[in-house]
Every structure is written in structure tokens, then in C-alpha cells.
């Protein structure tokens, strides 16, 4: 309570309108309710509902209980809120809200406009970090606000009919580099968690400010819109066993970070809104289906790394410039995989509100480091019997272009040199379409010998999964030019066709089809299954780069598979 008072005072002294999330206990606490009402009336604070499980449901987390239990919990909380405040809440939340929970809330209380519904990449790495005790698996979602779809809360809706009816926001704003490479919880808009990760040094906490600015920079690529949120429970500010620093430091870092945001607000750099105000503004400014991009630069480790993120209704995707601009993470939203969580969830996937990946280079290897490579894309460049792999080359972002619902990423050209001295300069350009189609262009800017032989093979190695361990792949089938050529039986079979037009993989488990289709007929296409020691499938398309070929274009397409 003392720490809540501290937060309350700091917030009001800085002139913030806060959103205060409270659970059922406090909603039934008359004294607390009176204090909250006073703050609402005097300072414009919004009082919101933090949905929590109850003992009848077996405790635990609210998104991990049965549908009937979710209904009771929602009813009890909303009823208590209305009883306390005389009107319906506009915002509700928890760390995760699955599609069921959002639907139940919206049905029982249509006035709810905003939900805290998930947090970017909170899952496997946080689970490990908490000594395998934090059973929260909610990865593969947008890093900023989104319109959740009806069938999977992590997937942004493709249109109005597909929309669950609320604006969802992440629980915190996570570092756009370290959220991918590392623990999503340590590197976030939460000063105490940054202390937990030891990324401050006593009272020196530049990273808190730098992270805020990492998010401010995203305005440059998103029509002037970016979102940053601090969401800190009082328990983090005193005697939190996760934090080594004394409380005085913890509280000072929290206050100073808020002071920085107040300063930005006073200078007109940012606008501070309650959740409900934000939801209204978001609906005004952002239409359903609008893509979001992020340019992620390392601001803590000093590695110089750059990543590019794109999120649209067709996919969420990461381009890894340190691996030649290959795709390091791909969530095939166009497949519209449906999921809810709880003991009554289908296929025994009780825990996962994660939107499954088909490429995840952190969990599923990416570029070869030990046995074989794993999920990734690349360009294999061959000359004189020698093959080079684009993943071996570093590049950086040259330009991020926004053409409405087509987002373009242009990477800096890479010069490759073969052992006989032959060189070629190749530039990669991606066009990301809203329907899940990705156009990969490889511009051949120069060759040291115009007549020199050069073969370029577009290479996609994928799988599907939710965590770091592989799933059963036996239902996958592989196709070439519309004909089934391989039933996945872990025999490492390859099928090859000269002059092939497209190769594809059908993954019924996640209702997704992945297609690799050269814009012009390829000299050779191949499709290959894997084995249990390398549980992937590989699609390739190879082109001969003659003197008159200036670029090759290949579509990587994500489609919904009717199952």
C-alpha cells in the first residue's frame, strides 16, 4: 500500500492521468474504491479491471482456466466494478488474454474498448529465466497495439468481420532487439525489471531513457505513430526479491524514468493518455489491417546489430541483417491458425497463446552452427562449382519505404568473392504485402566478369512450432507444380524438377500453406523433407544469372489451408 501511495503521488505530481488496474479483492474494498473514485474525479485517472482466476477455477492464471470458469470470473469482476463505480469498465487486462477471454468480456460488457492482452515475445526465454516456473507462452504477436482477431488474440485482424472488437495493447514495451534475442521481461519499459537484468549501474540507468527513445524512433516508419507504456505493480518498488539494488535506487530509477516521459510530454514530443483514451485515439488514427514496422537497433550490448520487423494481417516477420538479411522469424498469420488456452483447449495445447512460427532462428537453429542449419531463408550463390551462403555476410538497412499497405525493405548491397577471384555485388529488397505475400528481389548490381557463370538459389528451410522443440510433422505434404510429391515421413526425400513453377508445403496442424514461387520460371526447383534429427522441410528455386539478367524475383507466399 505504501508503494501504491508512492506511485500515486509521483503520477499526480507529474500531472499524469494513469490507468489503475485492480483485481476483484480491491473492487470489493469500499475504502479503496472511495480513494480511486477521488483520483478519477480529481486527476482523470482511469480505473480498469485486472482479471484474475479464482479458487473455484483452481487459481493460476485467468487465460489458463476453462471457458465456463472464464465466464464466471469475468461476470464477477465486471459486476463488482459496476457495483463499485456505477458504470461499466472501459479497459480490462491481464498478462495474456486469449480469444475466448476477449470474446467473453466483450459479450458480457460491450463497453470494454481496450485490453492488455499479451506481450510480444514472452514465452520460452522467460520460462527458462524464471527457472522453468513461469508458464506463460505468448509469443509471435505484435510489439505494439493491435486489433486482435476473433480466432487468435495474438494475430491482428485482417478486416472488420475478423476483429474481436477491442484494441489490444502489450503489457509493456519490450526492447525490439533483446525481446527477440534474450529475455523479453528484463529488457522492457519497466525500470525494476531492467535492474533485475543488471542493466543499470546503481543510479546510472541510461537504458531506461534509451529504450523509450527506441520506441519514439518508430514514429519515423509508422506515419508518426508509436506507443510506449509503463505498467508497474507496487510490489516491484520495495523489497522485491528479484532486485539486488536497495529500494532507494529502485524507487529513484522509477521516478526519474517517469520524469523523462513528463518532460517529453511538456515539450510536445509525446502525448500521455489513459488506456481508454488511447483506444479511442488508435481507432481514429489506425485502420484495421494497417501494417506496422520497426527498425530495431541494439542500444545496450554494443553489437551494432540491426533487425527489421514487419507486422501485418498476413504475417509477422523479422529480417536479420547480421545473417545476410535472411528471415529470422516468421509467423504465418495468413494461415489464420485458431487457438484458445485452458484445459479445454484443442490438441492438448493448453498453454500456448503463442502464434506458431514457421521460421524461428533462435529456437530452431537458423544458420548452421552445429549439426545442420535450421529454420531460415537464404540465397545460395554458386560459381565454378563453389557455393556461398548469403547468411555468411553482414548487411544493414539501406531504406524502409512505406507504400500504403505494401512495406518495402531495401538492404545494403553485399559483395561476394569466389575463390577464383570472381566477384558479384548483390542487393536484397523485400516487398511485404498485407495478404501474406512476400516478394524477394535479388538485384545483381555487378559481376567482375559479365560473362561469368552465376547461379542464384532462393532457399527456404522451415518447420512449424510453438516452443523450441519440434512438433509432429507427419501430416505435412510437399508439392511441386500442384502435384503432391512427398508425404512427410522423415526419410529426407528430395524431389527436383527442371523448369518448375512452384514448390510448396502444406501444414494442416496450423492450417497454413507455404509456397515458393519464382516470378519467372526457374531453371530448377526442389522440395525436400527432413529426418528426426533435422525436422524441417526445404523449398528452393534456382536461377541462372546470364549477362542480361539484372535481378531475380521470387514470391514467398503464406496461404490459409482449408482443413
Amino acid at each position: 500500500m505504501q508503494m501504491y501511495e508512492l506511485q500515486r503521488k509521483v503520477g499526480h505530481d507529474l500531472g499524469f492521468k494513469s490507468t489503475i488496474f485492480i483485481g476483484l479483492d480491491f473492487l470489493r474494498d469500499k475504502e479503496m474504491v472511495e480513494r480511486l473514485k477521488t483520483d478519477r474525479d480529481n486527476y482523470g485517472d482511469e480505473i480498469a479491471v485486472w482479471l484474475t482466476s479464482d479458487s473455484k477455477a483452481g487459481g493460476g492464471q485467468v487465460w489458463l482456466i476453462r471457458r465456463e470458469d472464464k465466464k464466471r470470473v469475468v461476470k464477477n469482476s465486471i459486476d463488482a466494478y459496476i457495483e463499485a463505480f456505477g458504470h461499466a469498465p472501459k479497459s480490462v487486462g491481464n498478462y495474456v488474454m486469449d480469444a475466448d477471454l476477449i470474446e467473453i468480456v466483450k459479450e458480457y460488457c460491450p463497453e470494454v474498448e481496450a485490453c492488455v492482452a499479451g506481450c510480444f515475445e514472452e514465452g520460452v526465454k522467460v520460462f527458462h529465466g524464471c527457472n522453468n516456473s513461469w508458464y506463460l507462452f505468448s509469443e509471435g504477436m505484435p510489439w505494439g497495439p493491435w486489433y486482435p482477431s476473433k480466432t487468435h488474440s495474438a494475430r491482428p485482424a485482417k478486416n472488420y468481420d475478423d476483429w474481436a472488437g477491442v484494441v489490444a495493447v502489450p503489457h509493456l514495451s519490450r526492447d525490439l532487439v533483446l525481446g527477440f534475442e534474450n529475455r523479453n521481461d528484463f529488457f522492457a519499459s519497466h525500470p525494476a525489471n531492467i535492474q533485475r537484468g543488471l542493466a543499470n549501474e546503481g543510479y546510472s540507468h541510461e537504458y531506461d531513457y534509451n529504450l523509450c527513445d527506441q520506441y519514439r524512433m518508430q514514429k519515423d516508419f509508422n506515419d508518426g505513430m508509436s506507443y510506449y507504456q509503463m505498467h508497474v505493480s507496487p510490489g516491484w518498488l520495495s523489497r522485491n526479491f528479484n532486485i539486488i539494488d536497495p529500494d532507494k535506487i529502485t524507487q529513484t530509477l522509477y521516478i526519474e524514468t517517469l520524469q523523462y516521459i513528463a518532460e517529453l510530454r511538456d515539450n510536445g514530443e509525446v502525448e500521455v493518455l489513459t488506456f481508454n483514451e488511447f483506444a479511442k485515439e488508435y481507432k481514429k488514427q489506425v485502420e484495421i489491417g494497417k501494417p506496422t514496422v520497426a527498425f530495431a537497433k541494439d542500444i545496450l550490448m554494443g553489437s551494432g546489430k540491426q533487425y527489421y520487423w514487419i507486422c501485418n494481417p498476413g504475417h509477422r516477420l523479422l529480417v536479420d541483417t547480421f545473417q545476410g538479411g535472411s528471415i529470422g522469424d516468421l509467423r504465418p498469420y495468413a494461415g489464420e491458425y485458431a487457438a484458445v488456452t485452458g484445459p479445454d483447449a484443442k490438441n492438448g495445447r493448453y498453454l500456448y497463446n503463442t502464434y506458431p512460427y514457421i521460421i524461428q532462428s533462435q529456437y530452431r537453429t537458423g544458420y548452421k552452427t552445429h549439426s545442420t542449419d535450421g529454420t531460415r531463408t537464404t540465397l545460395i550463390m554458386s560459381h565454378g562449382g563453389e557455393s556461398l551462403d548469403m547468411c555468411d555476410y553482414n548487411t544493414t538497412v539501406e531504406a524502409i519505404n512505406n507504400n500504403g499497405n505494401i512495406q518495402q525493405l531495401v538492404l545494403k548491397p553485399v559483395e561476394v568473392k569466389f575463390s577464383d577471384g570472381f566477384t558479384a555485388k548483390i542487393q536484397t529488397v523485400y516487398d511485404f504485402l498485407n495478404d501474406g505475400n512476400i516478394l524477394i528481389t535479388r538485384r545483381v548490381l555487378s559481376k567482375s566478369d559479365a560473362l561469368g557463370e552465376l547461379l542464384l538459389q532462393e532457399y527456404v528451410k522451415a518447420s512449424y512450432g510453438f516452443i523450441e522443440y519440434p512438433e509432429d510433422m507427419k501430416d505435412i505434404t510437399l508439392y511441386c507444380d500442384g502435384e503432391k510429391v512427398i508425404d512427410y515421413t522423415y526419410r529426407n526425400t528430395q524431389y527436383k524438377k527442371e523448369g518448375g513453377k512452384e514448390v510448396s508445403a502444406l501444414i494442416p496442424e496450423i492450417s497454413t500453406e507455404v509456397v515458393l514461387r519464382p516470378e519467372t520460371v526457374a531453371s530448377v526447383v526442389t522440395v525436400r523433407e527432413g529426418n528426426l534429427f533435422s525436422p524441417y522441410f526445404t523449398l528452393t528455386a534456382e536461377h541462372i544469372v546470364n549477362e542480361d539478367v539484372k535481378e531475380i524475383k521470387t514470391w514467398l507466399q503464406i496461404k490459409k489451408l482449408q482443413v
Binding site: H128, N210, R216, M217, F241, I244, D245, P246, I299, G302
Partner: protein, 74 residues
């Protein structure tokens, strides 16, 4: 996990586990040293603090302010 008595409530974490970003508190035993429940770490308070300093060193930019303008050019 009990708070380490002589440290005014601060609960230290195992530096070896933390090297892999795993958060495990350490406890003091009768020998006056800190022991980890998950791995074989044992050390004095000085060793703990030294190891924390080494962990912080991985964050090369932790004391560097990188403003919005600087990040744009970064």
C-alpha cells in the same frame, strides 16, 4: 527463499545461473558463504559482487545515453 540476513533484505542471485539469464536466489549456509540451489556455485559476498560487475560488463552501452537523434543515425 529466506532473505540473506546481513544484507538488509537484499536477496542475491546466483551469478553462474545468471550468466545464462536464469534467476535463482542464493542462500547463506553455516559456512557463511552463498550457495546456489540449482548449480554448484559457492562464494563469498565479495565474489558475488565481483561476478555481478562482470555480468554488467556485457552491457557495453549501459552508461551511454543514446538520444533519439543519435539512435536515428546509429
Amino acid at each position: 527463499m529466506a532473505a540473506n540476513k546481513e544484507t538488509t533484505g537484499v536477496i542475491y542471485k546466483c551469478p553462474l545461473c545468471f550468466n545464462n539469464y536464469i534467476d535463482v536466489p542464493v542462500d547463506t549456509f553455516e559456512d557463511g558463504k552463498y550457495h546456489c540451489v540449482k548449480c554448484g556455485f559457492v562464494g563469498t559476498k565479495e565474489e558475488l559482487l565481483q561476478k555481478y560487475a562482470e555480468i554488467r560488463d556485457r552491457y557495453k552501452l549501459r552508461n551511454t545515453r543514446i538520444t533519439l537523434e543519435e539512435q536515428r543515425k546509429f
